[in-house]
């Protein structure tokens, strides 16, 4: 009797285990079931960018009407590449769709972590696509040099263009009264007149922070000076005479005519400079350009116009489209592919254009009332010339090496050519280690 009623270690352990099991069972059974999904669930990962505002505000509600339950998860640009790549590679399945920056496609393609969208029923050969945009969705690329290991691989459509963003010129129409400046010399000369007249504080503004920001700002200048980045064997040739001239112009003339702190400027600061009425001209993507007519977001509403980028030899811009890929680990793969089919249809692209975003289908540029003045200018720029960055999985590292050297030269205000020589050697060494040659 005494024995059975005594509190022993055994009874404590047994009781504890029993209690734990019972609690687990009760909790599991008692948990409220998740509310029934409002439709076909699609979890979209995106980096925060004004270029996606029309999609968020106008297209997501339309998608809901089509029966899609969109979860839109945004992150800061600087962390998304590593976060999504880790998600895709580990098969964590946190996302159904990534809205990638287009230079990231080769890295995801080489790692073979994205679905074949062509096999999923998306037609990459549709003539309505903007050719240069759909080309960026293939890995390995259909045109141009290929990295080792992928020379003979069949190009697969692993991503589809989502927002057709590319660089264009935004300028002050009260400073450049004769319309968009045609050359860089005109940007500087007329800009100086605007400064002298007290209309603006600086002729130009750009991003000077190391890495992606400074390379993105320098690239259209480089292209307009006639530079090429790699030859067809992946040898860096950006330190050609044309490349060096562009770098000297960028770190010298452009810096002298930009805000004094431009070395530390990223997109927030350059956006504030143009929208706040301080700068005369800027080469930029659509994120800030879309705010140009909104008095709540700019002090100079009505004074900002758009044009193709200025030229030295040619007026070529850098493409920087949002491009969608479905990870192999996506929990709602079928839904995401179905969503993409709906999204890239000519009808939805027309709605996107009406909403004010740059579409990825040519027919959508021709609608009666595009939602933003930038859209027809974007088409003009596409026709004038717009190039993607080199299609290599190592672009992030290349951009980092080049960006550091350009940033150092920008600090000094000279030495752009020497910076390119140093960067070219570093890039060559890195690619040699990576087995490119």
């Amino acid at each position: 009797m005494m024995h059975s009623s005594r509190l022993t270690r055994r009874s404590v352990i047994k009781g504890g285990l029993g209690l734990a099991l019972a609690t687990t069972a009760l909790t599991t059974l008692g948990l409220p079931m998740p509310a029934k999904a409002a439709g076909k669930k699609v979890i979209i990962g995106a980096f925060a960018d004004g270029g996606l505002t029309p999609f968020k505000e106008k297209i997501i509600p339309l998608a809901k009407e089509q029966g899609f339950d969109i979860q839109f998860l945004e992150d800061e640009y600087g962390v998304t590449l590593e976060k999504w790549f880790a998600d895709a590679q580990s098969g964590a399945g946190q996302y159904d769709l990534y809205l990638l920056d287009d230079p990231w496609v080769p890295q995801f393609g080489a790692a073979n972590v994205l679905e074949d969208l062509g096999a999923g029923g998306i037609d990459g050969s549709d003539k309505d696509w903007i050719g240069s945009m759909i080309d960026m969705g293939y890995w390995p690329p259909q045109k141009g040099p290929r990295v080792k290991g992928f020379e003979n691989a069949k190009p697969t459509l692993i991503c589809v263009p989502f927002v057709g963003d590319l660089q264009t010129l935004t300028y002050r129409n009260d400073v450049f009264t004769g319309g968009a400046p045609k050359t860089w010399d005109e940007v500087i000369a007329k800009g100086k007149e605007g400064v002298a007249a007290g209309k603006i504080k600086y002729p130009v503004v750009f991003r000077g922070v190391s890495g992606n920001p400074i390379v993105t700002s320098w690239y259209p200048v480089f292209l307009s000076f006639g530079g090429s980045f790699f030859d067809d064997k992946w040898n860096p040739i950006f330190n050609s005479a044309e490349g060096k001239a562009s770098a000297e112009f960028f770190v010298g003339t452009m810096k002298q005519n930009a805000p004094s702190g431009v070395v530390e400027f990223d997109s927030d600061q350059e956006g504030a400079a143009i929208l706040g009425g301080d700068a005369g001209a800027i080469i930029q993507y659509s994120g800030n350009a879309l705010k140009a007519d909104d008095p709540a977001q700019t002090k100079v509403a009505g004074k900002l116009d758009f044009g193709v980028v200025p030229k030295q030899q040619s007026a070529i811009a850098q493409m920087g489209i949002f491009i969608a890929g479905v990870p192999k680990s996506a929990p709602n793969k079928a839904n995401s592919i179905e969503f993409l089919k709906w999204y890239v249809s000519a009808e939805t692209q027309a709605k996107l254009s009406e909403a004010g975003s740059i579409p990825v289908k040519r027919s959508a540029f021709g609608i009666a009332k595009p939602g933003n003045r930038l859209i027809p200018v974007a088409l003009q720029q596409l026709d004038a010339g717009a190039l993607p960055r080199p299609r290599t999985p190592d672009w992030a590292k290349v951009e980092e090496l080049l960006g550091i050297e350009l940033n150092k030269a920008l600090q000094a205000g000279s030495g752009g050519g020497a910076a390119l020589d140093t960067a070219a050697k570093q890039v060559k060494d890195y690619l040699t280690t990576a087995g490119y040659y």
């Binding site: 530390e264 400079a273 940033n407 150092k408």
Partner: protein, 301 residues
């Protein structure tokens, strides 16, 4: 007979449980330590001997990653920046922390409030501190530029200049972590015996003499511990730099943690990054052991 067998069975079960219980009690903790400490460490060591391509291991390279580090100009630069950063910020924090601790040792009206206020920076999230300092330093709309403009000056350039950005980063670290030094050293000062100080006062020793001959020698072990702790911590500084400068301008503030992060996650050189972190781990370990030996020598003397 039956009763005897039953009693023996209970004894056996009791003995078995006695033997197993310590292990059962240890098991959850041990599993966690193995899972979150030993396994990642072992996996990191294993990864450091492999070459990665597109995020996956493609070849065993032995110690090649470790050898390559010492000819990598970017690694060497990051290491040098980190050493300078740690040496400068920890030295300033030690001096300031000691001075504040000595000041706050005195009892006067409002001292408790002052002690509380002094430790506030330490409890603020490092990312928030970095954002605030970014708002102070920004040349276009920062607080320093606004102050300068109010006094008729121009834009204040901090983050665009290599030296100023480095000093700005050290200033941030000093602001945030001096309180930790202060707290440790104040506790140390409060635990010192009173008798030697009273004797020195009776002998007519001045404040400086008391500090040089008594306070500082008696505080050396505490000071050494505080410096070791902060040094190890400062080597791992990441979030403040990530938000404030991202390593720039150029490579002026690129600490080893930032370079390692980029190498591992942005450039997918997982094996190389693992070798880098193992090397830095060993460097910090060596520093800690040296400091402990130094501490023992001080104790012995």
């Amino acid at each position: 007979m039956r009763n005897g067998m039953q009693a023996s069975k209970y004894r056996l079960q009791g003995a078995g449980l006695d033997l197993a219980l310590p292990y059962l009690m240890l098991a959850p903790g041990l599993t966690i330590v193995l899972g979150v400490l030993v396994y990642p460490l072992w996996d990191g060591l294993r990864a450091s001997t492999k070459a990665y391509r597109y995020g996956s291991p493609v070849a065993d390279v032995g110690l090649q990653n470790y050898v390559r580090l010492w000819s990598d100009a970017q690694f060497l630069n990051s290491l040098w920046v980190t050493v300078r950063f740690v040496a400068l910020s920890v030295s300033i924090e030690a001096v300031l922390g000691f001075a504040l601790a000595l000041f706050c040792l005195h009892e006067f009206r409002g001292i408790r409030l002052l002690r509380t206020v002094l430790i506030i920076p330490m409890v603020i999230t490092p990312v928030v501190v970095a954002i605030v300092f970014r708002l102070i330093y920004a040349s276009d709309a920062g607080m320093l530029t606004a102050l300068s403009a109010a006094m008729g000056g121009g834009a204040v350039q901090i983050l665009g200049d290599p030296l100023k950005a480095f000093i700005g980063l050290v200033a941030l670290d000093v602001w945030e972590w001096t309180p930790l030094m202060f707290l440790i050293l104040l506790a140390g000062l409060q635990s010192l015996p009173h008798e030697p100080f009273e004797a020195a006062r009776v002998d007519g020793a001045g404040a400086w003499r008391v500090f040089v001959d008594l306070t500082f020698p008696m505080m050396r072990p505490v000071l050494a511990i505080a410096i070791v702790l902060r040094t190890i911590d400062a080597f791992g500084t990441f979030d403040q730099v990530f938000v404030l400068t991202r390593g720039g301008p150029g490579e002026a503030t690129r600490l080893i943690s930032i370079y390692g992060y980029d190498t591992a996650f942005k450039f997918q050189q997982t094996g190389y990054a693992a070798a880098l972190f193992v090397t830095i781990g060993l460097v910090v370990l060596a520093l800690a052991f040296s400091a402990i030996r130094l501490l023992r020598r001080i104790d012995a003397s």
